[in-house]
Subunit: 581 residues, 2 copies
Amino acid sequence: MNHQEALTSYIAAFVAELVQTGITDVVVSPGSRSTPMAMVMAEHPDLNVHINVDERSAAFFALGMAKASGHPVALLCTSGTAAANYYPAVVEAYYSRVPLIVLTADRPHELRDVGAPQAIDQIHLYGKHAKWFVEMPIPEKSDEMERYVRSVCARAAATAQAAPAGPVHLNFPFREPLVPNLEKEDLFTLKSREAGYVAIEQGVPTLHTTQIEKIGEQLKRHQNGIIVCGSLEEDGFADAVVALSNHLQFPIIADPLSQLRSGKHDGTNIIDTYDTFLRNEDAKKALKPEVIIRFGAMPISKALTIFMKENQDAEQWIIDGGAGWRDPSLLSTSMIYCNEKSFCDAISSHVGVRPVSDYLNKWREVNAFTKENLMKIRETSELSEGRLFHLLSDMLPEGATLFVGNSMPIRDVDSFFHFNEKSIKIMANRGANGIDGTISTALGASTVLQPLYLVVGDLTFFHDLNGLMAAKLYNLNIKIIVINNNGGGIFSFLPQSNHPKNFEKLFGTPLDLKFEHAIHMYNGTYDLITDWNHFTSSFVQNLENDGLSVMEITTNRDTNLKEHRDLWNFVSQEISRLLKG
Amino acid sequence: MNHQEALTSYIAAFVAELVQTGITDVVVSPGSRSTPMAMVMAEHPDLNVHINVDERSAAFFALGMAKASGHPVALLCTSGTAAANYYPAVVEAYYSRVPLIVLTADRPHELRDVGAPQAIDQIHLYGKHAKWFVEMPIPEKSDEMERYVRSVCARAAATAQAAPAGPVHLNFPFREPLVPNLEKEDLFTLKSREAGYVAIEQGVPTLHTTQIEKIGEQLKRHQNGIIVCGSLEEDGFADAVVALSNHLQFPIIADPLSQLRSGKHDGTNIIDTYDTFLRNEDAKKALKPEVIIRFGAMPISKALTIFMKENQDAEQWIIDGGAGWRDPSLLSTSMIYCNEKSFCDAISSHVGVRPVSDYLNKWREVNAFTKENLMKIRETSELSEGRLFHLLSDMLPEGATLFVGNSMPIRDVDSFFHFNEKSIKIMANRGANGIDGTISTALGASTVLQPLYLVVGDLTFFHDLNGLMAAKLYNLNIKIIVINNNGGGIFSFLPQSNHPKNFEKLFGTPLDLKFEHAIHMYNGTYDLITDWNHFTSSFVQNLENDGLSVMEITTNRDTNLKEHRDLWNFVSQEISRLLKG
């Protein structure tokens, strides 16, 4: 059997099937062992090949595309440490439930563990962080092999998407010579089953009527309940949970990543300032719940987590269509493995519309009052992190995406980005909450969602500077706001900040970098913001700009800490006055 | 039991023992969960704490220190994807046999797999690429716990160093609050065994007299043998293998990483141009060996590999003190698991000094002739990759270290860096041959070895640009020569270069980056070399400079390919003329 013919037909069958499953994008990092797959992929008219030299960035870029589109994206790299560079993004994809199809080229068996160059042990390379791993066979040309390759491909795409979505890993051993025969006519014309090898219809978990009745009856016994929504992406969920809230008369505690802080859905019951008012003891007393219904990932707010922990006697129901265990406080009384939207629909129709609730009104009142008092942030004349996010909720255009870095930005969004009807999507890498790969993830998302704004701190920006290469190479449109407090701002909020010896060295870690240089290297426009007027005019001017644009806002870690604490203290005093008055 | 006291005494015992084992350096990436370990480490007077924000760079930096010093270096990071960023360097350390002690902080058991932030599955995070993994216990204060922690620490350091050296991974679950009590008096004063808990004396594999006799007698039967030395670091090996060569009258085929291409040892039998002359059929016929003795990793030269493959009937003996299987061609007839130096000593003394060999003289003659003809490279007037390495072998100062990138630089060193007596150490990451982490590894090495020159291509330089942060932060001294051929030059040497469609996109991958911007961001000096005179003057001027200095040489991939091929063809014709004449 001709080696090149076997190699070509095996790979062409795989790539053809990949496209049949609906995959449109693959991120490729250059390398030698992956040559045949890369060359065949580049030949397919319906596959977009994105080149990304740094595999760490490449994998986060694919993650961003998949996260933004909800569809799996493929990744391809050569053997060796190239594949190990995918690890951070694979881990993030696993925990944030994003579908990825990781394809790694490998040496054939006879070159493994015998000191051959670029040969490492790639079997189960990502451990438990890949949902499915397949060691692919050496390319052969036979009908059975084609059936196998196509079936694996279809399964990989379906497995990556099935709830909980996540990364799958296929490892391909390729022998030299590695060049396929691209002269072959009808490279991607499949001998049989032209519409795809096997269609995989994936059901979602739904509860039986008797389960719904039982849960519905239990719920009816409680007047004082809250709905807590963490990070969740599901079509139709916003309207379904708002309807549930209206039926039950429970407020919706909406985490920024719940996608409920912005949109065309009814915002009446959306609570968006809990991160502030749940720091106040009087509010916590007044708002004590009997039941908590939770959807999505664990919310970001520490104040909310503490509030739930302090109400251990409340029933806590966690609805998870991905059948995980999203309960770090270990307080759940029921785990309900059911598609989230279908749960809302079924319970709403079971309980019917309940009378107006004082408890709900009290949440709304405290929320409205807090929001009003938080407006004090507008008085901040110096450049500051809190006011920035408040401004952004005003200024971001309709339909924009706001991607935020971990550490401080996501927390400031939580505190200062309040409900609006502009359909702004808020994104962050909250599977493992790393500061790595943020630029690349946002750039990947920017190929799907426009306009896209990324707000990151300086350490996060630095960590993935290489990610900017993709913006340059593909003229991607992204507007980045770097909050440069010259180091790790979040550590000032932690107990070690009371131990000044070694604090700056170990935690403050000032980098003293002039990012302007890097922005110029990647052909971006750069603006060092000097005051709020400058920010506003620069922001407005930027609205129309294409390409990479970076605004840098320098802030001070100590001032920022003080400003946050002063504001929370002020608002807290006002809330106590309201509730005691 | 007081939590803080338990946390403090447990960690202090670990850190004290770490220092007792002889470890002097730890590379720390800032994070929250690792707070107690970082704070205690910073308190130890005999431990150098190096901060490195990007964990991928941090791990390669530690790898470079350990590689240069031969002693284990510790790494510390927080939980989550931070630890996953270590993966590429851990893999490289495993395959290149470099001792690392990887310490990762983790959430305690009750926060694992329950959706807690920054909690990922860190058990066996690096799979088979860690030599030893220990899930450490939750800190407790008891004599037994102290004994356990100290024993594990001693074992970790010994395991990392035992042949084959490699990375070990200890995972530490820490509960909040995370701040240790640094007020404690005599934090590191150990109650017992002040000189260290347990001394581990590691033997090396040596052969029994009967084994030596058997091997010695077998060797005596052959006149035509060669010694092939790949990457190897062992005190005293150079002199021992030169003595073996003199006794046996076998030439030494010296890979650049064998550390035999430069030094005070006798260079008479060192063959350093085989990568050129083994492309010639007449030379290969004239130099056919009956026996091949191999030390160290598989050599870099493809011509040499093919030569050995074409001589399958030759006995091939692989001496490996690390008991691996460094034989990708699967041609070994004997695997000899014995310390390399002791093997040389024992065989030399068994065989005694043999009479002068024609076979050895023929190798030396062809080598000398090839070297003379390769001098034609000096005539290259345009900036070129080959001539650069030839120049470097002349110009590098006594005792310098030359760290080279993978892909083309290491191959050009192989072709053009010839024997000299200047004790120049040549380094590269050849465990898994990745282009990742090269700047960081070289910077780590630069803290041990001075002066240090790094020569890399533009893709390799780009891949680890973040690594330059350490140079800025610690004012490290490194002289970098970037060969910028705007893309992946090595692919022009591979078969896919004959398929121009998509070649530039998939393999050429031009980045069009002006690195000057990045160098300025990291406070380096930058020189864009315009011709050879400029290079020479810049090089000489640089000799006295401290800090980060970068010289960029732009070359052309096609010209480079042609120049290499023309030179090899020319030399090959001359060799045929010599041998046939």
